[in-house]
Amino acid sequence: MDALFLQVLNGLDKGGAYALIALGLTLVFGTLGVVNFAHGALFMFGAFCAVSLERIFSTSYVTISETEKDFLGNPLKVDVPYIQEWFGSGTANFLQDYSVPLSILLAIVVMGFVGVVMERGLIKHFYKRPHADQILVTFGLAIVLAEIVRHYYGANPIPQQAPEIVAGAANVGNWFGLGDNVVYPWWRLVYFVFSLIVIGAVFAFLQFTTFGMVVRAGMQDRETVGLLGINIEKRFTIVFALAAIVAGVAGAMYTPIYPPDYNLGMEFLVLSFVVVVVGGMGSLGGAVLAGFLLGILQSFASMNEVKSILPALDQVIIYLVAVIILLTLPRGLLGRQGVMED
């Protein structure tokens, strides 16, 4: 019982990340008709927004220590962060402690900018090109983005700390009367709640604003919306930027769970496509549903009890589910007919 409960939590947490990535991917696909293989790279870029902010906060000037020595026996160089110099050590410590959540702000600005540039500079020229071309050009872009990050940050993962206040694990068991052995890291709970908020915000935005209405209409029938004289181009740009922002903040917040490296995008790329397709291409609800579903199933498949019956099920579960769903539900969980079948 406890074990099952924890695996559900694990699944929700993983599912939150899958859903956030898949959401942007399917949004771009549904409105713009573009298969964006660089979407994983946007997630990775977001993660490096967090890394960058932490670097900015610890950018230092150097003083030479009189007493201490470095590894070669030369006088030790001591780094003093500029923010400590400017704002005093109290504020500096606060900023450094909260650099990951604060990086959401940076990610929104940076990813919005990256999204607009990417859409205006590249993606918009590919609306009418075959999917194969879209895949290739965005895949090329994903490699280039990853290599740029590698050039500046190296190939090793870079650890990020969650704020002190949510370090360690919460005694979830006590809340539900399940005993002491049911603990769960605070930051993962934060991430789960965060993913729900972002998903809710995106849905509310599309549901309750005029802008969202047009976008949804465009997802149903783009040509008619175009005929109505609505400037669809500008909206496309905004939608793409929105998708980039969602991927970016998802990446930034994920860093304490998973130390990011330049290859992070590629790792999530295949998985997020499977999620989108299982959910149904172009279906927002489907992406979220599939994200959580696959997350939970993956967690269950990793349980020792399951693996003792079906060895290596955890290795293939995601793909197995994808195959079964696509063969029984031709367009995924919530997909519409005709999408992406040419």
Binding site: Q7, E68, D70, I257, Y258, P259, Q298
Partner: protein, 448 residues
């Protein structure tokens, strides 16, 4: 429809002429690959000798590969008499004079293994077939090392393994043309288990999370064998998919299992992720069976451990070498590496540097680069001054035997490089085993 890829007649005639020329030239190509008068592959012509450095330049181990490459360049400098000479000055064998090897200047070519067997073999082949490399060295994974070792055996060149920790490299997959300086999981088990017993007691229940591939299994087997000899129980050994990323669903069952030690048989990114996440799940704050819960990472890499940040503090593991060692050789190496690049070398850099020196020295002592002769001068070779105390290159399996470092994540790091603290230097005699233990057969040398 049918003439989409048409050619004009003139072009056809032209390419026909080229074809004829090609046909005439073919025998030349057939014969060239093995043609040389010295009786072994890629015998150096002229006054240079070319070594092939095959390291991961892309993928998860790219930084480790970059560090290996730095060490190689340093070694080449020292062999050619440039720089401060590094460990050449402390090396017990004095055959090398800093004037190249056998009077020839050392040159090198590089390749990207991508940490994939196919890519590693392809790039090794390029260096052998196209660039005339006479020796291949490098790598940071056992799968790759074994694959490239097999290739070098077929091609008839020497392979000096880089970072490879699996027993198989000099066990059941050993080859006459292959040599390993790095230690293996058997030695890790033998060295680590007594230290763990002293630190945590002999009444412990261990839970293994193991990367689901050959190295992981090798490591899991060795740790189980040696800890169980000292009285530990193994509660469970669970396999995790390579590159799982999120290990939470493997970590949560640990809480309930009654185990009080978690052994992470992961390397590289898997280690970074599983360790970070295990610490986040509060495992180290727990009390089980009235004892503090402990985590062990049997194979540490300082370079990769940086990715785990704070999480590695106090964690026990083993390593082939660490820059904080105080012996003369290590100091000389750290000094010349640190002066050139501005930071201390990793264990991967150390093993690669040593391998090049050992190869060059063996060539010098044998008086030839011919693999069979050169190999024999490495077999049973005893040396000192390369940072691990007295070392033996055992003839039976081409494996180096030396002291093993048991380390712990530093509690109060003095600098960002100061991640590991040496807890104990386990003497060589304690980690030695009979060559038959791991099976396999060297077979005959191949000179190409």
């Amino acid at each position: 429809m049918s003439d989409r890829n048409d050619l004009t007649r003139r072009r056809v005639i032209k390419s026909g002429a080229v074809a004829a020329a090609g046909a005439a030239a073919t025998p030349y190509f057939f014969s060239r690959a093995f043609a040389d008068g010295h009786g072994y592959r890629n015998a150096p012509k002229g006054d240079t000798v070319t070594l092939g450095f095959n390291v991961p330049q892309t993928g998860a181990y790219a930084d480790e590969g970059a560090d290996e490459l730095r060490a190689y360049e340093l070694a080449v400098e020292h062999l050619n008499g440039e720089g401060d000479g590094g460990m050449l000055n402390t090396f017990s064998s004095k055959a090398l004079k800093g004037n190249g090897v056998l009077g020839k200047k050392v040159d090198f070519v590089t390749g990207d293994t991508q940490t994939k067997s196919d890519a590693a073999r392809a790039s090794a082949k390029r260096m052998i077939e196209n660039d005339g490399a006479i020796m291949i060295t490098g790598g940071s994974s056992s799968g790759v090392a074994i694959a490239v070792q097999g290739l070098c055996q077929e091609a008839g060149v020497i392979f000096m393994a880089g970072l490879t920790h699996s027993n198989d490299t000099t066990g059941k997959d050993k080859r006459a043309n292959g040599f390993r300086h790095f230690f293996n999981t058997e030695m890790t088990g033998a060295a680590l288990a007594p230290v763990l017993k002293n630190a945590f007691g002999s009444d412990r229940n261990a839970y293994h999370l193991t990367a689901d591939y050959t190295w992981g299994w090798s490591q899991e087997g060795s740790i189980q064998k040696y800890t169980e000899e000292l009285g530990w129980n193994t509660t469970a050994a669970v396999r995790t998919p390579l590159g799982a990323g999120d290990f939470s669903s493997f970590i949560t069952p640990v809480l309930d299992s009654g185990a009080d030690v978690l052994v992470l048989n992961h390397y590289g990114k898997d280690m970074v992720n599983s360790l970070t996440q295990a610490v986040q799940f509060g495992l180290r704050d727990k009390q089980v069976n009235g004892k503090d819960f402990q985590i062990v990472v049997p194979l540490f890499s300082r370079l990769m451990a940086q990715g785990a940040g704070e999480s590695i503090k106090g964690i026990y593991g083993s390593t082939n070498w660490n820059w904080s060692l105080k012996d003369e050789g290590s100091q000389a190496f750290v000094k010349s590496f640190g002066t050139k690049y501005g930071f201390p070398p990793s264990q991967a850099a150390h093993t690669c540097y040593s391998q090049v020196l050992l190869y060059a020295d063996a060539a010098e002592r044998a008086g030839t680069f011919m693999p069979s002769e050169l190999g024999k001068s490495l077999e049973g070779f005893e040396f000192d001054g390369l940072g691990n105390g007295p070392v033996l290159y055992r003839a039976e399996d081409h494996q180096c035997f030396k002291d093993v470092l048991v380390v712990q994540g530093a509690q109060n790091p003095q600098s960002k490089f100061d991640l590991l603290e040496v807890v104990e230097v386990t003497p060589r005699s304690q980690v030695e085993y009979a060559p038959e233990l791991l099976g396999g057969e060297l077979g005959p040398y191949n000179n190409g």
